[in-house]
Each structure stands twice: as C-alpha cells, then as structure tokens.
C-alpha cells in the first residue's frame, strides 16, 4: 500500500507540475482568470446589489444557488451524524464502577458522591449527575467561560449582520456561535449544554436555517421572478430592487448562520459523546 501510495502520488505530482509551466505568474494582474468573469463582479457589485463586500455579493447573490447547496451539504452532514451515531439509551455495558450506582457532584464543593441506584434520586440545584469520578471540575475555567461566552456570541451576531461590509457572513458567524456553545459544553459538561439547547430544537433549527434560504428563493419565484432573484422582493419590501437584493442577502445569511450553528453543535455533541449525549469530553 505504501509503495502504491508513493507511486500514485508521484505520478499526480508530476502531471500537475507539468502543467504549471503554462500558468500565468503568481500575482499576475492580467491573467485570464481575472479578465473574463470577475471584472463584472468587481465593477457592478455595488451598483447592482448595493453590497461593497464583493465576496458576499457573489456568494449570496450572483452564485447564491451554490451557497444554498453548500448549506444543504452542512445540513446533510448534521443529519448524517445524527443518523449514524445517535443511540437511544445506553447500548453498551456499564463499567464495574458505574454498576454500583450513580455519581452526583455537589457543585459548591466539587465533591463527588455515589449513590446506589435504588436508593434515592437527587433533584437539587446543588447536585448534578456525572458519569465517573474522573471527570474534572474546575471553577476557574467555568467562571472564565461564563464571562467569555456572551461576548463570543455577540461577536458572532456582528459577523453575520456586518457581512455585507466587512469580512464575514452567515457561515463564519454561525460557526462562531456554534463554537461558543461547544465551549460551554467543554467547560461545563455536555449535559448542561444540552439542557440549554436540546436536540429537538437543534434539529429543527438546522432544517429551519436552510429552509429560510430556500424559502426566500421560493418567495422570489412566487413574486414572479426567477428562483433566488432577490430583486423581486422589492414588491413586498418598502425599498427599491437594488436595496432589496442586499436585504435578501442578509436574510439568506441569517438562514445560513442558523443552520451552520445548529449543525456544528449537532456534530459536536454526537461525536464527543459517541451519540449517547452524556457527560461528553
């Protein structure tokens, strides 16, 4: 296998290298790629769509159809992770330690105690269920994260909303928002994160996000335009068609953000707990 790998790799490398001779120099201003289609985007982005960040305007408008499917790919990944990994209940055997009973942690002190199963079920705000004694507990990390997370989320919202004018957009914002929840899940534990934003909600959010995108496309269709022709939204929004394109893009980016956020969390919770949704990392 190693020899085959080396052979294939070298052949591919040689073929690719053979072609670089004809390429325009790196950084060439007048290369074919920058003369044919892209000048249109650079020149007319502001005039046609009212969005100064050309990447956003091409992403969400000129080639918006690609982006819809890009979001679908992400949705598909979340769905696949859920389908593949999620197990309901515990399918494997308990470890000998766990067999003896359930662990509870007393939150103010961090002491872990174990109760036999039949004995009692503690439902008190000072106690939480943990999987084994080894799960670390660190007050400093928790407090730091508690302070940090709102700011991360605020930044994520900014990135989504300001994607028209600066780098960023729905996808990046969604990932950052998802990362803040993942941080919560790592710093505390997966259970408390799932309590905040449960599986059902995540599933529906991920579908909703992509649906917002496709729905805006449908709306344009219903208003008599082509699919994703945001200009048509002007007939229901109090703005001119050019501005309507920018607003359509914003709507689409929000949809992307929601979907990506939900899917990132779905993938994380399913991978980190191997589908059992327990303590996690």
């Amino acid at each position: 296998m190693k020899k085959l790998g080396l052979f294939v790799t070298i052949i591919c490398g040689a073929i690719l290298l053979y072609a670089t001779g004809e390429f325009p120099r790196w950084g060439e201003v007048r290369s074919p790629a920058s003369l044919h289609v892209s000048p249109h985007y650079i020149k007319y982005s502001v005039e046609e769509t009212d969005v100064p960040n050309i990447v956003t305007s091409v992403l969400a408008d000129y080639r918006g159809f690609d982006t819809m499917f890009e979001t679908t790919v992400i949705f598909c990944a979340g769905l696949a992770c859920f389908l593949l990994l999620r197990v309901f209940g515990r399918d494997d055997e308990l470890t000998p330690e766990e067999e003896k009973g359930i662990f509870y942690r007393h939150l103010p002190t961090g002491i872990v105690i174990q109760f036999k199963k039949e004995d009692v079920e503690i439902r008190h705000k000072d106690f939480e269920v943990v999987d084994s004694k080894l799960v670390p507990y660190d007050l400093i990390i928790k407090t730091a994260c508690r302070v940090l997370i709102p700011f991360i989320q605020l930044f994520a919202l900014y990135v989504v909303a300001h994607g028209d004018f600066s780098p960023g957009g729905g996808f990046q914002g969604g990932v950052i928002f998802g990362a803040s929840i993942i941080l919560l899940a790592i710093a505390f534990n997966l259970r408390s994160a799932i309590e905040k934003i449960n599986e059902k909600l995540l599933g529906i959010l991920s579908a909703l996000g992509v649906f917002i995108y496709a729905g805006i496309g449908w709306l344009c269709l219903l208003l008599g335009g082509n699919f994703l022709d945001y200009g048509r939204l002007a007939s229901i929004l109090p703005v001119d068609p050019i501005r309507a394109r920018a607003l359509g893009m914003l709507g689409v980016e929000i949809g992307v953000g929601i979907a990506v956020m939900a899917v990132m969390i779905i993938i994380y919770i399913n991978i980190a707990s191997a589908g059992r949704h327990d303590e996690g990392l």
Binding site: L16, H36, F65, D66, V73, F82, F211, F227, L228
Partner: protein
C-alpha cells in the same frame, strides 16, 4: 428587466430539497407523515422531469437563469435532450424505489425512519442537480451532496461491514471529487469561466495547452473514480453490497449512470469532439480499459457466491459498456452508450429490486438459498428472469438493442477487442443468470428454512414495483427505435464519424 424561464427546471430540484427539511422537522412531530411527504416530493420531481422532457422535445433546449443573472455571471441551468432523459430516469427510479422500500425501511431502520427519508430526498436532490446544472462548480457542490448522503446511507447498512465500506468509499470519493475540482481549477485559471457553454467556447482556442490537457485528465479521472471504471472500482462492490436494501437499490443503478452522464457531458459539451478525438489521443487507451473492465467485471461476478455482490460486479462490467461506447468516437457508439444509460438504469434497478425481494424473505443471499425458488416466489422470479435476460441481451428486451448499437459502433471503429469483450460479456452473463435460473427450477428443496421462517412471496407493493419495471424493460426494448430517433439522434453532435 428579466422574464421568467421554465419554472419546472427549478421545481425539479428544489421541491425534494425543501421537503427534505420538512421531513426532518416532522420526524419530531409526527413520524407517520414523513413517508407520504417524501412520496409527494419525489412525485413532483417526476412530473417536472416529464414536463421538461416534453418541452425539450417540442421547443428545444431550456435555459434557466438562477437569480436572474445572465449565464457566465450567474449560474445557469441548461437542459437539452440528454439532461432531460437522464432526469426522467433518475426521478422514475427513485419514485418506484420509494414505493418498494416502505417495508424494508420499517424493518431495517425503524427508529430513524423520518431522518432516513430526509437523507433519501437529499440524495435525489443531489442527483437531479448534478444532471440539470450547466455550471462546472455547481456540479461539484451537488456531487458532494449526492456523495455525502450516499456515504451516510451506506454506513447505516450492515453493522459489521457497512461503516468500513462507507469509510473506504469516503476516502476514494473525496479523491475523485477533489480531482474533478482540481481539473475545474485548471480550466478556470486558463479561461476564467465556470459556465459549461462559455468554457466550451473559450477552449476552442486553447486546444494545444498543456494545462487544459491536465485539466481534462484530472476531470476524467475524477469522474472515473466516482463511477468506478475498472482499475478505480475497488470501493464499489463492498459499498453497494452492504448498504441498506432501500438505499442500495437506488444508489447502485443511479450513481454510476449519473456519473456516466457527467462524463459524456464533459466530453461532448465542454471539451468537444475535435479536442477528444483529434487533439488528445487517448481514446484507444480508454476503449481498451473499458474492454478490460467488461471482462474483469464478468469474471469477478462469476466467482461470487452472494447475489448482491455478483450484481455489483455486473455493474462494474456495465460501466465498461458505456465508457467504451462513448469513447468509440462514432455516432453508433455514442448512441449505444446513451441508450445503454437508459436501459442499464432500469435493468440494474430491476435486478436490485428482485434482490431486495429475495432478501426480504430469505435474509442471506448466497446462491444456495435459491434452490427451488421458482415455486416459492414465482412473481419475483419472473421479474428477475426478465431483468436477467435483458442484461444478457436477449432480443425483445431492451438490453439487446443498446448492445447491438455498441457492437455496430465497435465494428465501425475497428475496435475488435471491445467487440470481443462485449460478446464475451454476454456469454458470461448468460452463464451467471442461467446458473441461478437452473437452481431455482431444479435445485431440489434441500434446506429451505430461512431465518425468517417459511418462505413466501414478497409483499404486494414490492411485487408491483418489480413487475412495473420488468414490463418497462420489454416496452423500452419494443420502442428502442423510437427512443433513439426522438431522444438520442438529435443530441449527437455534428462531426462524429
């Protein structure tokens, strides 16, 4: 500023997509609604596909500008006869499979039914999108949707072997898709465009460019990996054998056919015949490779003891038919290849439907289990016989006609090795299927206690689906001449020998 285009072009792709989200949502609300919604979505796609086919036959190529942007700037759907025909095939096969798979899914994946249908619809969306698009990069994205949903469906199959087969498929599939992406990158750096028609126009003055040659090689190898042409086929048998019945049945006939479609589209629409047969001299090599694929697939199928695995090797061999036909470089060969896309999609689908029926009652599909099967499952076996005869190429069935065109093409192009391979493959297929028929008729009632109790005929809906498709095989055969004249001949580019 702009007028609306044919709305069916976009309904076709977007309906299953949107319904996939609803099916996912309904999974948590009321699972009984998932299945009907999936059927409705697939039905709408089917109706749109038929509508598009009629419109294309009547009025010629359909253009749809997504977002209202004119083609090289935005993404365009360009549907000519070839797209339209493949669209109808894809949506028909998926719809019939959805009817047939109700029982399988309830049995194999009871807990995750709703989400599975969502994945199934995404797979359909991907396939339809790949076929309908006129943009090189859009094709890549949709290809990835298709592959991603295929990977995860396969991983849901056989607990022991499914995930491993799926992971191998992921690695090889990613290599294939990335090669395609690299090829597109090389095209882009030389031309600056991604629209197929535009690229085709720009390429005419770049025929002798090394970079374009490399782009061509990488696009082709990427597509070949995805369709599993002979030396690149190693992922296919395991992946298709261990998939859940419901998905294996739709992935196996459609995925490879759609990739063959992509190859023909790239060859004849993007690069053009002058480039293919006058500038690049690899057609001889490819036809040779296809012939080896045909023989290899047949021989490997002979050595299998499991019906499903045997069928997957038959697919490997059938891919050789289509690739070889397309690369023969004459009208007859290309006609045969396109006709074979239509026929083979339905033939392999019928075989997999029959295999699904057997699996539903027998469990294991080892060939010994087929002893005396005619008396136990007569209807399923009847369908299986028709499909088998069609694969062999017995006259009234459709398999004969495409093979006939391919043989004529091979003869006209003086590719005698390909000619011999085709005939040899028919013989091998005859041995393969008559072996099973013989077992089914005279095998004696040896051990007949399967894991699932007394063997009886498969459920009615599965029988009806199989019957429909096998009757379709004969009908396709009877109308082969009309199909060629209306759908295929107008597509064949001018200038082919």
């Amino acid at each position: 500023m702009m007028t609306t285009d044919n709305v069916f072009a976009v309904l076709l792709v977007v309906t299953p997509l949107v319904c996939a989200f609803f099916v996912m949502g309904l999974h948590w609300v009321d699972r009984r609604w998932c299945y009907p919604l999936a059927v409705i979505a697939n039905g709408i796609s089917f109706i749109s596909a038929v509508e598009i086919l009629i419109s294309v036959v009547k009025h010629g190529t359909i253009h749809y500008r997504l977002g209202g942007w004119r083609p090289p700037i935005g993404i365009e759907y360009r549907i000519d006869l070839l797209n339209a025909v493949v669209l109808v095939i894809v949506s028909t096969v998926a719809l019939v499979n959805l009817f047939a798979s109700y029982n399988d899914i309830s049995r194999e994946l009871p807990e995750k039914k709703g989400t599975f249908y969502s994945l199934y619809l995404l797979f359909l969306t991907g396939l339809l999108g790949v076929v309908v698009t006129g943009d090189l990069f859009n094709l890549y994205v949709l290809l990835e949707i298709t592959s991603l949903s295929a990977y995860s469906q396969i991983a849901l199959g056989d607990v022991r072997r499914g995930p491993f087969a799926s992971l191998n498929y992921i690695f090889i599939g990613v290599i294939g898709a990335s090669f395609y992406l690299l090829g597109v990158g090389y095209i882009y750096i030389m031309t600056g465009s991604l629209n197929m028609a535009d690229v085709a126009h720009l390429l005419t003055r770049l025929h002798y460019s090394q970079a374009i040659f490399v782009a061509f090689i990488f696009c082709m190898v990427g597509v070949w990996i995805k369709m599993a042409l002979f030396p690149l086929h190693i992922w296919l048998p395991n992946a298709y054998t261990y998939a859940p019945t419901a998905s294996g049945r739709v992935i196996a006939p459609l995925m490879t056919k759609v990739m063959v479609y992509v190859m023909i589209r790239l060859m004849f629409t993007v690069f053009g015949i002058t480039y293919l047969f006058k500038v690049v001299h690899i057609s001889q090599f490819v036809v040779w490779l296809a012939s080896v694929a045909i023989i290899y697939g047949g021989l490997m199928a002979l050595s299998q003891n499991n019906l499903k695995k045997m069928l997957t090797y038959i697919i490997v061999s059938e891919i050789g038919y289509m690739v070889g036909g397309a690369w023969l470089g004459n009208k007859l060969g290309l006609t045969g290849a396109i006709l074979h896309i239509i026929n083979d999609a339905f033939m392999t689908f019928a075989l997999f439907l029959a295999a699904g029926n057997f699996a539903y009652r027998l469990g294991e599909l080892t060939l010994d289990n087929f002893n005396d099967i005619f008396s136990k499952m007569p209807w399923t076996m009847a369908g299986f016989v028709v499909a088998g005869l069609s694969i062999i190429g017995v006259p009234p069935t459709c398999g004969f006609f495409s093979k006939w065109y391919l043989l004529l093409g091979a003869f006209a192009a003086r590719q005698y090795f390909f000619f011999v391979a085709l005939i040899l493959s028919s013989l091998v297929n005859a041995i393969l299927f008559f072996r099973i028929f013989e077992k089914g008729l005279f095998g004696g009632g040896g051990h007949h206690v399967s894991v699932r109790g007394e063997i009886q005929e498969a459920p009615v809906n599965m029988i009806i689906c199989l019957g429909l498709i096998s009757v379709g095989l004969v009908v396709l055969g009877l109308y082969a001449g009309d199909i060629v004249n209306t759908f295929i001949i107008p597509f064949i580019p001018q200038g082919l020998g």
